[in-house]
Symmetry: C2
Subunit: 224 residues, 2 copies
C-alpha cells in the first residue's frame, strides 16, 4: 500500500517536473541561450571541466553557470564568480539531484538576455539525476578514468540518458588499469550514437574537439 | 500538496526501513555475524577493497558478500563467487541505494550460520545510501584520491553518517593534486572521531591496519 502510494507520488513528481522542464526549455529558447545539464559521479571533474570550458570560450561567448550542491558550501560557485562570470548556487537541501524547478529558480537569477550558454552542474551522482529532465538542450555525462571501465555496465540508466559523453582524466591512463575497448563496448551497447570526447583538464588534451562541438551545437541550436 | 504527501511518504518509508534494519541487526547478532555497510562514490574501489579484504582474511574468517547494483549486471558478485565465497547480488531496479528490506532478502540467501563477516556493497552513490540504515554493525565510507579533496565539504551527510573512513588509491597521490590536510579538516569538522585508513588496493599500503581494525571490531562485536 505504502509502495503504491509512493510510486504514484513519484510519477506525479516526474510529470510535474517534466512540465517545468518544458517551461525552462521555452524560456531558454526565447532567450537564445544554449543550456547543458552536466552530470557525473562525485569527483569526475565536472567543476574543472566547466572552468576549462569557461577559460577557453569566455572571450567569445557569454557563459553563466548554475551549481547544484547537496549542501550550502559555495565552493564551486565561488570558483566561477571569481572569474567574473555570473553563477548561481542551488542547495538541494540534501536531495540527490537537481530538478526542473530548482533550475528554473536558478535561471531567473541569471542575466539570460546577456548570455549565450548556461552550464548546469548537477549533483555528483550517477543514478538519480538521469530521471529528471531540466529543460536543457543537451545532457552531458562526464566520466573519468579512475572510476573504472565497468561503469556503463553498472549505471546503464545514466549512460542511456545522455547525448554527449566526456571521458575525463585521460592523463591518468598510464597509472590505472582501464580497458578502453571494454568501456566503449559497454557505452555502445546502451547508447550506440553517443558522441564522446576523451579529454584531460590537466593537459588540455582533447579539449579543442569539445570546443568545436560546443560551438557547432550553439550554431545548430540558434539557426536550425 | 504533492510535496506534503511526498514528505509524509518518505518519512513512512524511512520508519519502515528502520524497523526492518532493527530486525536485520538482531538476525546478524543471533547469527554472530559482523556486517559492514560499504558505501562510496561510483568507482572509488568498493569491489577491489572487498576483494582485497577477502584475499587477506578469508583463510581465517568465513566471509559472505551482498552486492547492490542498479542493474542486473552480476559483474561484482561473479568476482566474489569465482573465489569460492557465497555472494548474493541485489538488483535495486534502478533505485539509488540499498534498503533494509533488500539486505534482509540477501541475508536470507546467505549461509549465515557458517559465516563470520558479511560485507554489504551498497550502490555507488555519495548521497542517498546515507539515509537508509541496513542493520549492519558499522557504516564504512570508501573515499578515493582521484575524487578530490573537497568531497567532505560537498557531501556532508555521507561523511557525517559513517563510522569508518577508508581513503583509497593513495598510490595515485603523486599524479593528482590532493591536499590531505584540507580533506582531513573537512572530515574532522563533520565527524571528529571518525577513524580513517589511507590505503592502496594496488600496492597494499595501509591494508594491515584495516585488517587489525576489522579483527578487533569482530572481537568487540562478539565478546563485549
Amino acid at each position: 500500500m505504502t509502495k503504491t502510494i509512493h510510486i504514484t507520488v513519484a510519477e506525479n513528481i516526474l510529470r510535474a517536473n517534466d512540465e517545468i522542464a518544458a517551461e525552462n526549455k521555452l524560456l531558454l529558447k526565447n532567450s537564445n541561450v544554449l543550456a547543458l545539464n552536466i552530470m557525473a559521479s562525485p569527483g569526475a571533474g565536472k567543476t574543472s571541466f566547466i572552468l576549462k570550458t569557461i577559460a577557453l570560450l569566455s572571450n567569445i561567448y557569454h557563459i553563466g553557470v548554475i551549481e547544484g550542491d547537496t549542501s550550502a558550501a559555495t565552493l564551486d560557485a565561488d570558483k566561477v564568480t571569481s572569474l567574473g562570470l555570473p553563477a548561481v548556487q542551488i542547495n538541494t537541501g540534501g536531495n540527490c539531484h537537481l530538478d526542473a524547478n530548482m533550475v528554473q529558480n536558478g535561471l531567473m537569477k541569471l542575466p539570460l538576455a546577456d548570455l549565450d550558454i548556461v552550464l548546469v552542474e548537477n549533483v555528483g551522482n550517477l543514478v538519480c539525476p538521469a530521471a529528471f529532465k531540466l529543460g536543457t538542450y543537451k545532457n552531458v555525462l562526464i566520466a573519468s578514468i579512475p572510476e573504472g571501465d565497468d561503469k556503463p555496465y553498472k549505471y546503464p540508466a545514466m549512460y542511456s540518458a545522455v547525448d554527449v559523453l566526456v571521458i575525463n582524466k585521460i592523463d591518468l591512463l598510464p597509472y590505472i588499469p582501464f580497458n578502453m575497448d571494454y568501456y566503449i563496448d559497454g557505452v555502445r551497447m546502451l547508447n550506440p550514437d553517443l558522441i564522446s570526447f576523451p579529454v584531460s583538464c590537466t593537459t588540455d588534451a582533447g579539449l579543442p574537439a569539445w570546443m568545436d562541438w560546443l560551438e557547432n551545437t550553439l550554431h545548430e541550436y540558434r539557426y536550425n
